[in-house]
């Protein structure tokens, strides 16, 4: 995580606890995850069974793909709420293409291009027409999920292509699905890009301070456009794998998009932009899926699960808020010290 900004020890017991928590956020998330896992394991011994882990890893991968796309956008100071809908549309599209007799690798490629185009449209709306990203993507969300309903007339489209099914049937060590391995690969890839490449660092600058980025010769709109297209393409990838896993393109909207944002914020990607990384994201993602799955198999009703979903989102945001406020304090203290030194 961003160790560069260590939170200053503040006075008072509460302040000290808060700053401790914030300084050790990722390790704390790991501890919470372990507690959650052991809790659900004692509640229901089936929790850590092979079969359940498999299901969990598959769902985690789907949320993870979307989370990577939207997480990078959050770091750059934008948001995309339409990822879930692009996923649904892509799943339908790939199913239609395969059923039309196109070989599945080509169909998957066309779908990826569709995702990139969808991202480009969003990028145009946000950076070309100056719309706020959340409302523009809410519009795009209903456009894509609506179109998915239109082209399928509300019915799922079954795919009959064993080659395409096999994509999600591959398992490593009999339990780890290929999907999850792809996710891990992407997490490492994006993590490397974020922390080691010039483009990755420019994402942080754009999200932290747009004007400073412009002064440093970075085009913020260009960076954000690339990330919007990336989010669209990765959502399409998610849709393809979704279709492969369930062997059909289902036009019914799924709530993966919102879960992806929750996982990202939970994992320390700041809502205000400019902070967070893929390592923390992965921990946040695992925590969220353990939690969701645990609630599910402990027999908690769907009502409480909806309720819990909102509550977790708000809790994650609250943590994010405390964190960014602490950071502001440090920055303010830093500038105060500098001005004091100057006046001396």
């Amino acid at each position: 995580m961003d160790k560069s900004v260590t939170v200053k020890k503040s006075d008072g017991r509460l302040g000290r606890i808060v700053s401790y928590v914030l300084n050790h956020k990722v390790s704390l998330l790991v501890v919470i995850t372990i507690i959650v896992v052991s809790f659900f394991q004692t509640m229901n011994p089936n929790f850590l069974r092979e079969q359940n882990i498999l299901i969990m890893l598959i769902i985690t991968s789907f949320i993870g793909f979307l989370g990577l796309g939207v997480g990078l956008l959050l770091i750059s100071g934008q948001i995309d709420l339409s990822t879930g809908a692009v996923t649904v549309m892509s799943a339908v599209l790939v199913a239609l293409l395969i059923n039309a007799g196109i070989p599945w690798p080509l169909a998957a490629l066309i779908t990826l291009v569709f995702g990139a185009v969808a991202g480009a449209i969003t990028a145009f709306l946000v950076n070309g027409l100056g719309m706020m990203s959340f409302i523009a993507t809410i519009g795009m969300m209903s456009v894509w999920s609506g179109l998915a309903l239109v082209v399928t007339r509300g019915n799922p489209i079954t795919i009959n292509d064993p080659g395409f099914w096999a994509l999600s049937d591959i398992r490593f060590f009999d339990t780890i699905p290929l999907l999850f391995v792809i996710l891990l690969f992407l997490v490492v890839l994006y993590g490397f890009m974020l922390s080691q490449t010039k483009f990755g660092r420019s994402i942080y600058i754009v999200g932290g301070n747009k004007n400073a980025a412009r002064l440093a010769g970075i085009n913020p709109k260009r960076v954000q456009n690339i990330l919007f297209i990336n989010a669209g393409a990765i959502s399409a990838l998610c849709g393809i794998l979704f279709a492969s896993n369930f062997r059909r393109g289902d036009p019914v909207a799924i709530t993966l998009g919102m879960d992806a944002i929750t996982a990202a914020v939970l994992g320390g990607i700041s809502f205000a932009g400019g902070a967070g990384g893929t390592g923390g994201f992965l921990v946040g993602l695992l925590l969220l899926s353990f939690f969701n799955n645990g609630l599910n198999i402990s027999g908690v009703g769907p009502y409480w699960q909806t309720f819990a979903r909102g509550a977790i989102l708000i809790a994650a945001l609250l943590l994010d808020y405390l964190r960014s406020r602490q950071r502001e304090k440090v920055i303010r203290a830093g500038t105060a010290e500098k001005t004091a030194a100057k006046s001396k």
Partner: protein
């Protein structure tokens, strides 16, 4: 004579004129497209019948948008309040007026939480209210365990579906008009209303002239939740049942209508007159699509596109056509 010419020019250039022209164009198109079915009295009555629900959401959205915030939980809070209303009437035998007040109080609590999250925890309004929408959805599930409840209070049903003047004009449209007029007067004539514009236009300046933006934000969030609750209760009384879906998906309708009516997303501009015309355009569009026989699967995609188009027009209006063309040439 010259004076008349300038005032005519002014009228033609105004936002309201453009909106009314748009409405007129839409009406003409639908009228010819549907062979005169569109302006048939029975169809007009149908449009007016359902307008109160979107209308309440429009007022709440418009007020908040003018102050520079928005509330995406109105629909879900409305569904929740409607569900509680039905449960109180059906299972507890509470009188409708008491139940109505209890529902408003519950909705007001959601408004308070929204306002706290936005003003004190400084969440972006859309994500705070989106989170609260999930919470409200969960709570409305809890009230009835996910079941649908029939609702047949004679008074509320009469209020929501009743018509007078030879069964032509619905009561509900009069209630809506009264709301629009009252809120319009508050916005344009009272000190509080003008303060809302100032807060939306420039929060910093408003603080300097001694306005408390937080107080205004609290009032408006509570207001929007309560209007959502009224919409939810009216909807349930109208269809004589409370469902867990309720008016949740109509949430964006109010927002679209308000933006169509010239309430800007940036805050500080627009008014309820424009919002009302926006509401008429929105309702006429939805009804016209239905009459034209457009596949109902298109609805969702259509409304998304309508939202995006109205946002694009909002952008063009604030920036101005000339500036865009000018910027291109630079």
């Amino acid at each position: 004579m010259a004076e008349l010419a300038t005032s005519v020019k002014k009228v033609i250039k105004s936002k309201m004129f453009a909106l009314i022209m748009l409405l007129a164009m839409l009406t003409t198109f639908m009228q010819f497209g549907t062979d005169g079915m569109f302006l048939h009295p029975i169809n007009i009555r149908t449009i007016l019948d359902m307008m109160i629900i979107t209308g309440m959401l429009t007022i709440g959205s418009a007020m908040l948008l003018i102050s520079g915030a928005l509330d995406l939980s109105m629909g879900a809070v409305g569904t929740m309040a409607g569900m509680l209303f039905a449960v109180l009437l059906r299972y507890y035998g509470v009188h409708w007026s008491v139940a109505f007040l209890i529902c408003l109080a519950l909705a007001a609590m959601f408004g308070v939480v929204n306002a706290i999250l936005v003003n004190f925890a400084r969440f972006p309004a859309f994500i705070a209210t989106l989170g609260m929408a999930f919470v409200a959805e969960g709570v409305s599930f809890l009230f009835a365990g996910g079941a649908n409840i029939s609702l047949s209070d004679p008074f509320m049903r009469a209020l929501a579906t009743g018509r007078f003047m030879n069964n032509t004009i619905p009561f509900s449209i009069l209630i809506l008009l009264v709301f629009f007029i009252v809120y319009g007067l508050i916005l344009s004539k009272t000190k509080f209303g003008r303060q809302i514009y100032l807060v939306g236009g420039n929060p910093h300046a408003s603080r300097l002239v001694g306005i408390n933006p937080r107080k205004i934000s609290f009032i408006l969030f509570i207001n929007s939740s309560m209007l959502g609750a009224i919409a939810g209760i009216m909807f349930n009384s109208r269809v004589a049942a409370a469902t867990t879906l309720g008016i949740t998906e109509r949430q964006f309708f109010g927002l679209i209508a308000a933006i169509l009516g010239g309430v800007s997303f940036g805050g500080g501009t627009g008014g309820l007159g424009g919002a009302f015309v926006g509401l008429l355009i929105f309702s006429a569009f939805g009804n016209g699509m239905f009459l034209l026989g457009v596949d109902s699967f298109w609805n969702q995609a259509m409304f998304g596109m309508l939202l995006l188009v109205s946002m694009a027009f909002d952008y063009l209006r604030t920036v101005g056509w000339k500036n865009i063309i000018g910027r291109r040439s630079l």
